[in-house]
């Protein structure tokens, strides 16, 4: 009997506002414990929250970017529960009137993952278990979060991973979060159930809490899917419960059952007033949004003629995509720019972080200049490659390495002469080529390029050589 996986996601994303959601403290990651705190985010008696306007703007932007409707009037609620990392014994969140609702993200297959809601809330502090005791660091307390809740639309782990990659990229593009999973600025709860293929009714679900790595999410889901199937196959019943993933043992384990589920006693936070977002404001924020990754992908592929895989690589890093756009702005052969970036330039940016930061030593105009020299046939691509290496080493423009003289190219008669010499001095290669070994031909061209210090147009040289041989 084959089973189908059904999953829904709750994704917490830390917003990259400068200050916390209800006070003026910095949201910077790290810092000595309890140094990014004030009486307000410490929940000292008598303090009051004041909602950071930027948080609302960022949440609305996020909502627009994932096709949500935006509520003109929403409110903040208190979610009451006791835990030492939550100094007020309630988290200020949104319950029945989330600021954004009914959106979707389209996967590459064309399938839509429906987003039920996006709401604003505050992050809690962090417990640190150390030296036989438990310590509390409230630096993270009050950092603004949005929680993005999907419908149970996922049918495979791959869909989940693609959704998360897309979501991450969108949030990165619109600049509302740095979505650094390793710093916990994107965390995920996965709701998972299984059912027999073809069945309508959803199975009983479990929730795996608080994962911050795509790899762990995939492993945890895989484990949990098999656990469900095993239980059902052996005639058992799934318990509705909350579980945690242990990455060392690669298992999920129960945290609490349904009976122990908290009654959060949600009610409107009387310390905060309505959040009003006018249509004008929504439109203003919409106008502020940059081109989103999907749209960019479409342009790169269909307008610039970049192959899909290459376009994906460019788009994966917002700054790289922008660098590419800038570098290829005035040139016809956009693919050439893409090739240089994905080839020679990426070799110098081996890590994701370096690509993310777009640490390229030359400005995009320099690359653009280099490519236009190729396009106008003033230099050959071979010269360009050599020059690019030097440019990347020094951060200097192509003019530093290729003189006007170099750009003259080679007189046709001179080239012919060199080609004839190449044929006569590489008889072995000529023989192999005539014997059907295509590869041998390139060594003849290589000889010519070397002789001409790369100035020869390899295509032209090839034509001449073939003429001579034949």
């Amino acid at each position: 009997m084959s089973y189908e996986l059904v999953a829904g996601l709750e994704t917490h994303i830390e917003l990259s506002t400068n200050t916390k959601i209800f006070c003026q403290c910095t949201t910077a990651f790290g810092g000595e414990p309890n140094t990014h705190c004030c009486p307000i985010c410490m929940g000292m008696p008598g303090t009051l929250p004041k909602l950071n306007k930027k948080v609302v703007e960022y949440a609305v932007k996020a909502g627009i970017a994932v096709n949500c409707k935006i509520r003109n009037i929403s409110k903040m609620d208190r979610k009451n529960y006791v835990y030492p990392d939550l100094p007020k014994a309630y988290q200020i969140s949104q319950f029945d009137k989330p600021i954004c609702y009914e959106g979707y993200i389209k996967l590459s297959s064309g399938k839509s993952i429906d987003i039920n809601r996006i709401h604003i809330e505050e992050d809690a502090g962090k417990l640190i278990h150390e030296r036989g005791g438990t310590y509390i660091d409230y630096n993270r307390g009050g950092v603004p979060l949005i929680e993005i809740v999907t419908e149970p639309d996922f049918r495979s782990i791959d869909e989940v991973l693609e959704y998360l990659e897309k979501l991450r990229l969108i949030m990165k593009y619109i600049g509302v979060s740095d979505v650094k999973m390793q710093e916990g600025s994107l965390r995920c709860d996965v709701n998972i159930s299984v059912r027999k293929k073809g069945e309508e009714k959803l199975g009983i679900r479990t929730e795996i809490k608080n994962m911050n790595s795509l790899n762990f999410i995939a492993k945890a889901m895989e484990y949990e899917f098999e656990r469900h199937v095993d239980i059902l196959e052996s005639g058992g019943k799934i318990e509705q419960e909350t579980r945690r993933y242990d990455s060392e043992l690669n298992i999920t384990e129960s945290m609490r059952g349904k009976e122990d589920a908290d009654d959060y006693r949600y009610f409107r936070d009387p310390d905060l007033v309505n959040i009003n977002v006018s249509e004008e404001e929504i439109n203003r924020l919409k106008d502020e949004l940059p081109q989103l990754p999907d749209e960019k992908m479409h342009v790169f592929m269909n307008v610039y003629g970049i192959p899909k895989d290459d376009a994906e690589l460019l788009i994966k890093y917002k700054k790289i995509a922008e660098y590419f756009e800038e570098a290829s702005k005035d040139i016809k052969n956009k693919k050439l720019a893409s090739n240089y970036i994905l080839g020679q330039i990426f070799r110098r940016l081996p890590t994701d972080w370096e690509k993310e930061e777009c640490g390229i030593s030359i400005p995009p105009e320099y690359l653009s200049e280099l490519i236009s020299l190729i396009e106008s046939k003033k230099i050959t691509s071979s010269m360009a490659s050599t020059a690019l290496e030097k440019m990347l080493d020094s951060g200097k423009s192509v003019r530093e390495f290729i003189s006007e003289n170099d750009m003259q190219g080679i007189d046709d008669d001179v080239l012919k002469e060199i080609c004839m010499r190449a044929v006569s001095e590489n008889q072995e290669a000529v023989k192999s080529y005539l014997g059907g070994k295509e590869k041998a031909f390139s060594s003849i061209i290589g000889y010519i390029m070397k002789e001409t210090k790369g100035k020869a147009d390899p295509q032209k040289a090839a034509e001449i050589v073939k003429e001579i041989i034949n």
């Binding site: 000292m44 303090t47 909602l51 006791v82 014994a89 009387p270």
Partner: protein
């Protein structure tokens, strides 16, 4: 001349220095406080320090601000940096706030002289100060009786000439009721005009800080200083109107609303005092309009559901981990928090938190909390309607005069019922004042309440002021025996 004005004139004419004035008050406290129990913490050093600063200003010939150099008291739920703020609870004994409440900042900027922090019912829950960990505050008018609550200490400090004015907080009548019991003026401003930042919350949507004073004019002076917009309080609006400037407006043609429901079950003495007050208003040319307020009967349940619900959440933070009471022995964190809270909170506070937790619980939310919110909204609408045809509403402040010591504790429900006249004001966020309007057969003070429309604090204050002026019943403010100058 009102007390604050009088004291200021003494300071300005250098008849007395601020340090001398402050010492007189400190002496008065020293003499009486062991009996009255108005103060739970007397801040001698702080007071003298400020007084010296004021004297320097006077010596330099600088003009004084409205509350500059005026010795005052503050309820123990208003946070003061580095001064113990306990809310009169075991839970917060030894808690020294690391920041100042906005109202205290304002008074500090004014160089108002803080004499100390006054007694209150634990976390402002009660109406006799008897739920305070420090015990009841007695009524300086007659010490067989309590001063009322929850701002009983603030009222007693003023009544006993232990402060020129007192700051209290009012969630369901906690300023007006003790003012009424002590024969003083107590003013609860429109919700949002005075910052709540730094006031330890009981019920956030109802709490409001206000003055307890000897006269209406003093209340207006203090209110004008406090009613500033505070960017730290999202519900703060402030007020730009000087109510003091409006105190001399005529009340000819003023429309005063009377609802019979407010008079149900009140005692004869109170009834006749209020009737006399109504007559005084008519004599001054005011117009009496009778209206009905059938929802008044729903007000108490609405109040208790909402205030307890909010309190259950507001007080959740007191777990004894970072500050406050900590139990001696425990085996794990859960037991520690349970013990901290069970041992740190008094009975009344626990009762209200349990009630609040219950009404917010899933399965009960709709039946209680949601219904109460709906009713609250409809009560607000009712008041709006009434204020279309009235300027102010006149009611008794409390259906009874001061309780005898111990009386309020016998039957909590019966005591809750005594809030019927004051509570609607908080539910609707309205301004209201209690002014003395006579004495009962035991010679205990009776208070009359005037309620105004939102942000018409000036109308309430002026109407009260005109009454006070006309009847010369200014709560014995004409003599200042304690200062003896």
């Amino acid at each position: 001349m009102s007390k604050i004005k009088y004291l200021k004139s003494l300071l300005e004419t250098k008849e007395i220095s601020c340090v001398e004035l402050t010492k007189k008050y400190l002496n008065s406290i020293e003499k009486q406080n062991n009996i009255i129990n108005a103060y739970v913490n007397v801040t001698v050093e702080e007071a003298i320090k400020t007084a010296k600063k004021v004297d320097e200003k006077i010596a330099a010939g600088e003009k004084l601000m409205p509350l500059e150099g005026i010795p005052m008291s503050r309820k123990d739920n208003i946070s003061t940096k580095n001064i113990e703020t306990t809310c009169c609870s075991k839970m917060l004994q030894g808690y020294y706030p690391i920041y100042d409440a906005t109202v205290w900042k304002i008074l500090q900027d004014q160089n108002s002289v803080l004499l100390g922090k006054t007694n209150m019912d634990e976390f402002a829950m009660g109406s006799s100060c008897e739920s305070s960990i420090y015990g009841a505050t007695l009524n300086p008018h007659n010490t067989d009786y309590v001063a009322g609550g929850s701002s009983g200490g603030a009222a007693a400090s003023v009544k006993g000439n232990m402060a020129a004015f007192g700051l209290g907080s009012d969630t369901g009548g906690s300023i007006r009721q003790p003012a009424s019991f002590c024969g003083l003026v107590g003013f609860k401003p429109t919700y949002g005009t005075v910052s709540r930042y730094g006031v330890v919350a009981y019920a956030s949507s109802l709490d409001q800080v206000g003055p307890i004073t000897n006269s209406v004019e003093d209340a207006a002076i203090v209110y004008d200083c406090l009613s500033l917009f505070d960017p730290k309080d999202a519900t703060s609006i402030g007020s730009k109107i000087s109510t003091v400037d409006k105190l001399n407006s005529s009340i000819k043609g003023l429309k005063i609303g009377i609802a019979e429901e407010y008079f149900e079950g009140i005692n004869e003495d109170i009834k006749s005092s209020i009737d006399e007050a109504i007559k005084a208003y008519e004599d001054a040319g005011a117009q009496i309009i009778h209206f009905q307020m059938p929802k008044l009967h729903a007000v108490l349940p609405v109040y208790f559901i909402i205030s307890c619900a909010e309190a259950s959440s507001n007080l959740g933070r007191f777990d004894g981990i970072r500050y406050g009471y900590k139990t001696d022995s425990y085996k794990d964190i859960e037991e520690m928090i349970c013990k901290n809270r069970s041992e740190g909170f008094g009975k009344e506070v626990q009762r209200r938190m349990l009630l609040g937790t219950y009404v917010l619980s899933s399965g009960y939310y709709d039946a209680y909390y949601k219904k109460a919110q709906n009713l609250r909204y409809s009560i607000i609408q009712d008041f709006k309607k009434i204020f279309e045809s009235c300027d102010v509403i006149l009611t008794p402040s409390v259906p009874v005069t001061a309780f005898k010591k111990g009386e309020a504790l016998i039957d909590p429900i019966a005591t809750y019922m005594m809030d019927i006249c004051t509570v609607p004001v908080n539910i609707a966020g309205l301004p209201a004042i209690s002014v003395p309007c006579g004495f009962d057969r035991n010679k205990m003070p009776i208070g009359m309440q005037l309620i105004g429309n939102s942000f018409e604090d000036y109308k309430v204050l002026n109407a009260a002021y005109q009454y006070e002026k006309q009847t010369k019943n200014i709560g014995e403010t004409s003599s200042y025996p304690e200062v003896e100058i």
